[in-house]
Amino acid sequence: MDLAFFGVQLLNGLQYGLLLFLIASGLTLIFGIMGIINLAHGAMYMIGAYLVYDLTFRLGNFWLAILVAIPIAIALGLIIERLFLDTLYKRDHLYQVLLTFGLILVLNEMQRIIWGGDVHSVPIPELFSGRIQLTDNLQYSHYRLFVMGVCLALAGVIYWVIRHTRLGIIIRAGAVNRDMVEGLGINVRTLFTLIFSVGVALTAFAGMIAAPLTSIAPGMGDSILITCFVVVVIGGIGSIKGAFWGAILIGMAETFGSVLIPSLASMVIYLIMAAVLLVKPRGLFA
């Protein structure tokens, strides 16, 4: 493996890891603050991708499609939180697992009813359709670099909000002791709705910007959900920092795993998880 090829794989791993971070950050926020395990998180990723596919062809513009799709995703998050999760905060995780499992079945089937079972793709927007020539026969797509930039920028925003704003203080405090936060007069109910909608929007957004890079297929949310669970377990549940480094680690491991040891590639991330569990059962950053 020469250096340029190695470099491309490094970039691919980074890009995939950053995308994973967007999804995992929502998952870990929702769990850390609300104590809800949301299995339907992957389905929201899928819905994000399908929304952009649909709207790009309807509106004729990828960017416009994303602008329209984001409010739809947020609205969907609001509806789910208010209608179903509301009653589950007091109950055991088991019921959350089952309810969100039921939601997956409903959302997956809605996808089939609306968009059918075919595999679709979205063309890379013209603005970033170019490629960087790395060596004679190796190129790197502008769009992948753009995705990386957007993910990094969002990661920065999330970091800034959590570290340096009043909302961030409430979120961090809520992750440690919800009752106390409420006792101090903060409306936790509203906070929950906000967190859930933002978490769902982040995932759906990840699906939207990933749409031109992946094939949009039924069940695409299920596999990414499991990968994100691994990320969250490795990083430590509720920790944004953990989600970030976990995502980068898993992104790299999957990318290099499929290049170096293709026969074991699908198992690599689970082996890493098992190793982390052996050493630090609560995750690296918890």
């Binding site: 769990f31 104590g35 395990i37 299995l39 208010r82 179903f84 509301d86 009653t87 589950l88 905060y89 007091k90 109950r91 055991d92 995780h93 088991l94 019921y95 697992v97 089952l98 309810l99 499992f101 039921g102 939601l103 997956i104 079945l105 409903v106 997956n108 089937e109 809605m110 089939r112 009813i113 919800r178 009752d179 409420e182 007069g185 903060i186 409306n187 936790v188 109910r189 929950f192 299920d222 499991i226 669970f229 691994v230 969250v232 377990v233 549940i237 026969s263 590639a265 699908s266 198992m267 689970y270 082996l271 998880m273 098992a274 569990l277 052996l278 059962p281 609560r282």
Partner: protein, 359 residues
Amino acid sequence: MLHRYPKRVVIIMLVLTAFVAIFPLWGPLVFGAQSDFMMEKMTLMLILALFAMSLDLLVGIVGLVSLGHALFFGLGAYTLALASPAFSPAAIWWMMPLVMLISALAALVVGFLVIRTKGIFFIMTTLAFGQMLYYFVNTSRHTGGTDGVFIMFRPSVEIGGTVLLDLDNPLTFFYVCLAMVVVGYLFLRWLTRSFYGQVLDGIHDNEHRMEALGYATSHYKLVAFVISGVMASLAGMLAAMQYGFANPAQLGWHTSGEVLMMLILGGMGTIFGPILGAFAYEILQHTFEHMTTHWPILMGITIILAVLVLPRGIAGLIIDPPNRESLAKSPLLKWLKREPTATPPEAAKPAVSTTSKEG
């Protein structure tokens, strides 16, 4: 959990068992030409009942919510498929111990890792380990990839050349599965009422206290994990015989989710509940499949409603039949009457609680 059920539970279960056992008598009258097909469905329900029961030991009795139980189900199926000789039936006398041994070893290794985690971590890690095996069999050449492995011959049950049971005969296989469910049920009832079961009960209620009393709780949990895994693998073995193949889908997390659903639909922690749950789930699915091609949406809605309305499952209805008082406290009414969205912090109090105490 309950150690003594009301008498009506015993009566209902005995009547239902007898009802299932005499299916060959009433099946042809009710289903006519479809009777053979229905008996195969019934056999599958019995197998799933065994699977759901095995999970009840973990979820209902010990309080460990596993979302990776299909791992053992699939392991049983694949062990049978891969260890069977290509051109002759395997002898059940070594096949069954082999399935149990392999699943016990797998449960020991996985259990050792996942028992270290609690609550939500346990859910996520069991899920991840289940998926690990799923992706392995999906991509490996030796396991037939996404196609799975076909099983040409069901194992033989014979001593010195005399055939005791012909598992290829659907009727015989039906009764073998029924017997497995009955034996499995009696075993779990005995286990939960034994001293060991009472320690598990204690762990469910308060693990810290049990630890303080000097019980090595993680050992107890690990043993429960292994027993549960072995039972699930036997169910998987039977399922592979029934289908005639082992398939990655048997290992997937949708299978784990479905069996969890059977558990909750039937009523967890009761052992007999999951049996009812498996039957109810399969009958519902069968009905929905005939109504629309988009049956998963109906299944999903049923699951959501069951979680909201029937948290103790069918068993809960049998143990404590609903009366005026309990109906007033029903989750559905609470859900319908829940507070308006813009609640002041005081009123929102019940919406927040600590999730940390669930282990």
